[in-house]
């Protein structure tokens, strides 16, 4: 084979090899989700065979039905009886998801409002202590979470906020503000300053300028910041575990960890819980993947 023909072959093979590699990574990323999905529509008996049944037929909605309505399955040879009785905590998934949503949405809203206000001041205004305040906020995130677990508990207890949404919201704000402020102030700084100056000349206050001129231009950045804040709050585990005691405030990760570490848990029910719990952040990641990728990239490249 001549050298030129070899090169032409390499030219044709290369995209194919790259596509195969992409496919392999996609399988690594998606296969665990797929197996959870299959498990969630299987009977317990199909999952506890060796090897398990890889394609349940027909798929059963019984696991989801139990989580939503508490209805026990009729086919006890397929679903078993005992594990359903030992897995009753899964019935708390919906209240836990509600808690997670309330906390995460509050954290998100506060991040967008207070984070944007502060970030804009850091980006554009000169005032006493600006540099040190900015440095303080950023370095505060270098503290490892476990290192301050006890004092956090003590503060929340002193404020009489144990087992409340407000405690989790406060703590998550302390965790998310630094990134939001860093991210948004970098973002604001890259917007064209001339429009803002024109608005100021026309007699707008700083606040009006931010609201009417900057915010409309910064929608993609604000969306990304909001999504990051939501995910951080929705996904956090350690402090949710420490600061909540009952289902009045327990969030989804706390409940799922309790369900998963129960040795007599039904695998099919656990899988159904996982699928339900990953829908919100999963959808966010899929729908906003462009914003998020660009946002993450911007946060490190600049």
């Amino acid at each position: 084979m001549s050298a030129r023909r070899a090169r032409r072959w390499a030219h044709r093979l290369e995209p194919m090899a790259l596509n195969v590699a992409c496919g392999a990574v996609a399988v690594f990323i998606l296969a665990p989700f797929a197996w959870m999905l299959v498990s969630s529509v299987s009977g317990e008996a199909e999952l506890t065979r060796r090897p398990p049944i890889f394609a349940p037929s027909p798929p059963t909605p019984a696991n989801y039905a139990f989580i939503f309505t508490g209805q026990l399955p009729k086919d006890s040879t397929r679903h078993g009886i005992f594990v359903w009785q030992t897995s009753h905590e899964v019935r708390l998934l919906l209240p836990a998801l509600r808690n997670s949503f309330i906390v995460a949405l509050s954290v998100m809203a506060a991040n967008v409002v207070f984070g944007a206000l502060a970030a804009y001041s850091f980006a554009r205004l000169r005032f006493h202590g600006r540099r040190s305040a900015y440095a303080f906020i950023l370095t505060s995130r270098l503290m490892p979470a476990v290192a301050v677990a006890i004092p956090f508990y003590a503060i929340v207890q002193r404020l009489d906020l144990l087992d409340t949404y407000r405690a989790l919201i406060l703590v998550y704000l302390a965790f998310t503000f630094p990134f939001t402020i860093y991210f948004l102030s970098v973002y604001f700084r890259y917007l064209p300053i001339e429009v803002e100056e024109a608005a100021l000349l026309d007699g707008c206050t700083r606040f009006q300028t931010l609201l009417r001129v900057v915010v409309p231009c910064a929608v993609p950045g604000l969306v990304a910041a909001a999504a990051f804040a939501f995910m951080t709050a929705y996904n956090e585990f350690l402090f949710a575990l420490l600061l909540t005691q009952t289902i009045a405030a327990q969030t989804m990760p706390v409940l799922l960890a309790a369900v998963a570490t129960n040795p007599a848990v039904s695998h099919a029910l656990l899988a159904s819980c996982v699928i339900l719990a990953i829908v919100p952040p999963g959808l966010l990641a899929l729908v906003l993947h462009r914003y998020l990728t660009r946002g993450l990239a911007a946060s490190i490249a600049r």
Binding site: W35, F127, M143, I150, V171, A174, H267, L284
Partner: protein, 290 residues
């Protein structure tokens, strides 16, 4: 109405207050706790004991074991995440159909809670009913189920896989951003000079990526050393403390043995360790640039 002069202070203050409440006070409190005897099962003995908590922690058998487990896991996890992230970033930077599709799903594992990543992979690696064992059995690679999570080495490996799956996307996106700003002319120039693929990567891509790689290494080391959620749901520190990394060890001191003094001392050691790592990396980075 807030005057224009006080506007910046009014906007920065609420954020500063929240961050300060959960930074300054906790640090002081941790230091205070670490210098006093504080065991919840003996609530009345609250003497100042100086560095005794640190001494007891550092001379303890479990501390060194957990430090070793931490080091092993951190090396495995950071190396794996960085290599995987680099590979995925290089793939995403190509113009083929597959990479466009991969871009849509790549962030999925990063978006979900670490707790759930742990639950998913524990179920996959399960020694009794795991799908990995099922697939290996069906394809004839093993002839009986292997208890992956019951051997120290394979348990660490399982945790690393779950960690890479969850953390890799972020590293990939960071590195992709750095790849995209490399001027294409440099590759053309390298090709004219007779450089092949490998040389292009070695002498154009890598030097450009160095700063971002260092950042990814710092960030991933911090994340790996502070890992807690995965240990909690996947292994509970076992088998034989193989995965009882230092964050988990501090947690058990505080919440199982109720020894707040030990816990706080451990937490401060962990904080110092992380800070030290950050400084070492930053110095290495600056030395490279100079």
């Amino acid at each position: 109405m807030i005057s224009e002069r006080s506007y910046p202070y009014a906007t920065v203050l609420p954020v500063m207050l929240v961050v300060a409440l959960f930074t300054v006070y906790p640090l002081l409190h941790s230091v205070y706790l670490s210098l006093h005897e504080n065991v919840l099962t003996r609530p009345l003995d609250n003497d100042f004991v100086g560095l005794q908590n640190f001494r007891e922690v550092v001379t303890g058998y479990y501390f060194w074991r957990s430090l070793w487990s931490t080091a092993v896991f951190a090396v495995m996890a950071v190396a794996a995440v960085t290599l995987y992230g680099l590979g995925v970033a290089l793939l995403l930077n190509q113009v083929v159909l597959g990479s466009a599709l991969l871009k849509v799903v790549v962030l999925l594992p990063w978006a979900i809670p670490a707790v759930i990543s742990g639950i998913i992979w524990r179920w996959i690696f399960d020694g009794d009913y795991g799908v990995l064992n099922g697939l290996l059995l069906v394809t004839g690679i093993v002839d009986r189920y292997v208890p992956w999570m019951s051997q120290p080495f394979s348990a660490r490996l399982c945790m690393t896989v779950a960690h890479v799956w969850k953390q890799g996307p972020l590293a990939a996106v960071f590195l992709l951003a750095a790849l995209q700003v490399i001027p294409a002319e440099l590759y053309d120039a390298a090709r004219i000079d007779g450089a092949g693929r490998w040389h292009g990567f070695r002498f154009v891509t890598l030097p450009y990526l160095k700063a971002t790689l260092a950042l990814v290494l710092i960030y991933e080391t911090i994340v790996a050393v502070a890992t807690f959620d995965l240990v909690y749901v996947m292994t509970g520190g076992g088998p034989a403390d193989a995965t009882a990394i230092i964050g988990w060890y501090a947690y058990t001191e505080i919440f199982r043995f109720l020894n707040l003094g030990h816990g706080a001392a451990l937490a401060i050691i962990l904080g110092g360790l992380l800070l030290g790592l950050v400084l070492v990396y930053l110095r290495a980075l600056r030395a490279e640039e100079a």
